[in-house]
């Protein structure tokens, strides 16, 4: 139900971001979603004349994804946020906060990931 959504591979990401800049698109933001099966979807949202164009990549948890902040500087905040809250290893961010943009040392790691809770009763082992 998202208009103009295209699935791409991680390898195509930088090329598509370059194409968007060349075609005069504005970067709005990116969204990360935990699929609950060890994979994450990252959706990059662009806009031109109020029409959106979206690209989706699917990566394994903890996978390496190149930063687009060298192409769109404004991506740096959301990339730091995704790195911190979802544990995606986004490389070469223009300003890398090293996982401490929103969270302090005492906070949970990757708190937006779905937590697996196992209840063990006495005698289960």
């Amino acid at each position: 139900m998202i208009e103009n959504l295209t699935d791409i591979s991680v390898e195509q990401l930088l090329t598509e971001a370059h194409n968007m800049l060349f075609d005069d698109y504005r970067f709005i933001t990116a969204t990360c979603v935990d699929n609950g099966d060890e994979t994450l979807d990252v959706i990059y949202h662009f806009d031109k004349d109020l029409e959106m164009k979206n690209f989706k990549i699917r990566v394994q948890k903890g996978a390496e994804v190149p930063s687009i902040s060298k192409i769109y500087f404004c991506a740096l905040l959301v990339e730091n946020e995704m790195k911190e809250l979802f544990g995606i290893n986004i490389t070469n961010i223009a300003i890398d906060y090293g996982g401490h943009m929103l969270l302090s040392d005492d906070d949970l790691e990757s708190p937006m990931l779905r937590q697996q809770i196992t209840i063990e009763r006495k005698g289960d082992k």
Binding site: I2, I28, T29, H45, L50, Y72, F73
Partner: protein
């Protein structure tokens, strides 16, 4: 010349909310600015995954006090789109009226804060005195002044009577007349112009590539206003986005000031043609699929991404607020500016840190 680092914030008289900037200085000139946020991160996106999709309306309203109605509007429009809900025409017009009232109170609040930032106390008080009239209307129509909770999935929670609509139009005229009296100070006063004209210039191309939103983008000559997409009842109303081309603090001030008049006209238009009828429709079932919903808040474009899985809980709710989009532009504007201009410059992006950090 040696460089020094001056910490700006997180507590500063000009900042209503905590934002920290490391300013790398050479004499009085800024060379680089590095932001530090995270002081009011509440994990609201995570919280929405644990609540029912109907309860999330109350959570998103609390992301920000100033634009609480617009947050709920964006969320409700997204869920309505996912579930194929047709909102009654009267509710769409009511949404416009409350949304524009929010825009007026946000812009008047900001104009007052700006006046306070450059030390014009009486101008600050005049703006906030005028804003009180909007807050009173909120209270009279919804029972509270800030988080009015007017939206529900499928329409609005309250109606506005025809007598009240007449009163709102008349109060809107009063607000316009009062603003006309203080407007020359913003437009022509020597001290005001001295602090704003030519300060923090953001060229059109830079603003666009940096993803600037709202008055920040329109102050740099970008004709970008989500209301042009015609959501709610905007498609049935006549308006043109306010655009200024100079890209400085003065241009951004002009955009916001003129948008107050524009909102008054939109309210009067909506009040004059609002149809009779239901204000909400019942909603059955659970949201499934993914959707993006966008609305023009006072500070600019807000984007909600939602993914439903056919149960009462959403898989994901992502919120990108306008201040989040305007911080990169701020970082590019600061280098080259004087230290004394930093408070006013930061204020002209109209920062809302609660929104930014959620």
């Amino acid at each position: 010349m040696p460089k020094t680092i001056i910490p700006f914030g997180p507590q500063h008289p000009v900042l209503p909310e905590p934002l920290h900037l490391k300013l790398v200085m050479q004499d009085e000139t800024i060379v680089e600015a590095i932001p530090a946020i995270g002081y009011v991160h509440r994990g609201l996106e995570k919280l929405t995954e644990t609540k029912e999709f109907t309860q999330n309306v109350y959570i998103v309203e609390r992301i920000c006090g100033i634009c609480s109605f617009m947050h709920a509007l964006t969320y409700c429009q997204g869920i309505e789109s996912l579930m194929g809900v047709e909102v009654p025409p009267r509710a769409r017009f009511l949404r416009v009226i409350w949304a524009e009232l929010h825009r007026i109170h946000s812009h008047l609040l900001w104009l007052g804060l700006l006046a306070d930032a450059f030390g014009f106390e009486s101008l600050f008080m005049q703006c906030w005195r005028n804003r009180e009239k909007v807050m009173d209307i909120m209270e009279e129509t919804c029972g509270s002044r800030v988080i009015i909770s007017g939206n529900t999935i499928g329409g609005t929670r309250r109606d506005i009577s025809s007598e009240m609509l007449v009163k709102i139009s008349s109060v809107a005229d009063e607000i316009r007349d009062d603003l006309k009296r203080v407007e020359p100070v913003f437009f022509n006063d020597y001290t005001v112009k001295h602090r704003l004209v030519g300060v923090g210039v953001l060229e059109r191309e830079k603003a666009y590539v940096l993803g600037a939103a709202g008055p920040m983008a329109r102050g740099s000559g970008i004709r970008q206003d989500l209301r042009m997409t015609g959501y709610a009842a905007y498609g049935e109303l006549d308006f043109e986005p306010i655009v200024e081309t100079d890209g400085d603090c003065y241009a951004r001030t002009m955009v916001r000031l003129k948008e107050v008049y524009q909102s008054i006209e939109l309210i009067k238009q909506a009040a004059s043609i609002i149809p009779e009828g239901e204000i909400s429709v019942p909603v059955k079932g659970f949201p499934k699929g993914e959707v993006v919903s966008r609305v023009e808040q006072p500070r600019g474009e807000v984007l909600y991404y939602m993914r439903g899985n056919g149960t009462k809980n959403l898989d994901r709710l992502r919120v990108r607020t306008p201040t989040f989009a305007n911080i990169p532009a701020l970082l590019q504007m600061l280098p080259g500016s004087q230290l004394a201009d930093v408070p006013v410059l930061i204020l002209t992006i109209d920062p809302c840190i609660s929104c930014t950090e959620r």
